[in-house]
Amino acid sequence: MTTTTLHGGPSNVKARKATNILMLALCSMGAAVAIAALGLVLVYLVTNGIQSMSIGMLIHSANVMDPAQDGLKNAIVGTLILIGTASIIGLPIGILGGVYQVEASGKFASTVRFLTDVLNSIPSIVIGIFVYILVVVPVSKYANAHHLTNVSGYSAFAGGVALAILMIPTIMRTTEEILRLVPVALREGSLALGATRWRTMFSIVLPAAKSGIITGVMLALARIAGETAPLLFTAFGNNVFSTKLFQPIDSLPWSIFINATQPGVDSEAKAHAGALILILLIFSMSLITRYATRKSFMEDK
């Protein structure tokens, strides 16, 4: 049935409404599938993880001889040490690099920006090999030549360097984007008082962008916390509890990988527990971020 419209043409209202509903349904389906994937992973992890969880997992280190004394303590502590080392190296470089990209203009700056994006898309296992050549081999040669028995090429330090290289482009990019969101008026207000550019950046612009940068940092940390590939040739793994910077160190992703590929119910349970702990670690990191940055000076109008 064709009805006439105000301007006299044929009405296509019904067809337009149908398209509207169809598009809405497609979009909702897309969202639902994405959420469903997350939900399934979470349900699987939590149900299997809780069955395998025990206090022992948290207080014992790996023990292949006695399943009753077996646990993930060395992996948990190892992951924290790796994240910490990566942060100490990666945070200053990433944030300062982001500041540079905002402040500098010209060919060199845009080249740096392009290369940062390239770095961001390099597979993490390649970074691992790169750090193996850059850190693991030289350190190992040096230790052999000087008979340093307590220094190993595979080490927490090498793992930290690999993870830092992974997080630097992410942090640079988010820092840059957040800093660009700070109103020009604030920057000019400071410059007009006779502040230098670096003073303006560090006293006004960075503090104003603080919560956004922290969020970016936390996202980067959450990403590297679950990285396995770059640790294969760097941190290696360690069945003994270790906090030494220049010794191989265990980590949750590594431990999950090793245990999941071993035969036996105990190993499988350990992998499930490890996965749950890793998810909880990442989840609590984002919760803490939310809590810590929920109120900034910019927002309390």
Binding site: L186, S190, L191, L193, G194, A195, A208, D300, K301
Partner: protein, 278 residues
Amino acid sequence: MTTTAKVHTQTRSLSSAASSKTDTEAPLLNAMDISDLDFYYGKSHALHKIKMPIPKQRVTALIGPSGCGKSTFLRTLNRMNDHIDGAKVEGNVTLDGQDIYARGVDVVELRKRVGMVFQKPNPFPMSIYDNIAYGPRIHGVRNRKVLDELVERCLRGAALWDEVSGDLKRSAFSLSGGQQQRLCIARVLAVEPEVILMDEPCSALDPNSTFRIEQLIEDLASKYTIVIVTHNMQQAARVSHYTGFFLRGDLREYGQTSKIFTNPDDAETEAYVSGRFG
């Protein structure tokens, strides 16, 4: 001078504090002098051979339609355009006889002497106290007692002290728009400038806040040289001693405010101030 009287009765009704702005005594000195100033944004030629004095301890208003170059001109006076890519300045701008675009001029020092208040209040995301103390701190004042006194003096100077003295640790964003703008003026006073540039300081404010800022401008003119860009003709008439009319990058006419508003030489100036275009 019947027309003068007419303008002033109009302005009095808006601002009782406004006195006749006719400057009978010749100004003692010029704080700044601009000659042959050309300005380019890339290829676009934004200002043409501007020549204009900025009389010391007087209020100079810059008026003109949007895009006429008055804000650009204002920003050349403390080199705020330096940060814009492709901006180029030619000509002379002097402050106390010194060329501010000369080689070796310290921009930081220049901006300490030529402060600026912006169109939208732009308090820093910190407390009221820290907003005022920011300028003195970057210029090396560390003594707590000195800072305390300075903060109070500047807040009083900007007619804000009575409203905020109870809690200086409060976020500057908790203030109203008008209070924020007075805070920004206080912040400029804290670095003890000689010249204060104001870029449409009242355009984001309500009439009441506008009135208070205008009063403040009059008070400040006894100690500071003020250059104000405004879209509001009545405001220019109320607060300024001298007025420059900009049109398409040219300074069409400059003179005492009373003359510009009542008996301008230039036909387009007359059309603009009488509200026939703009």
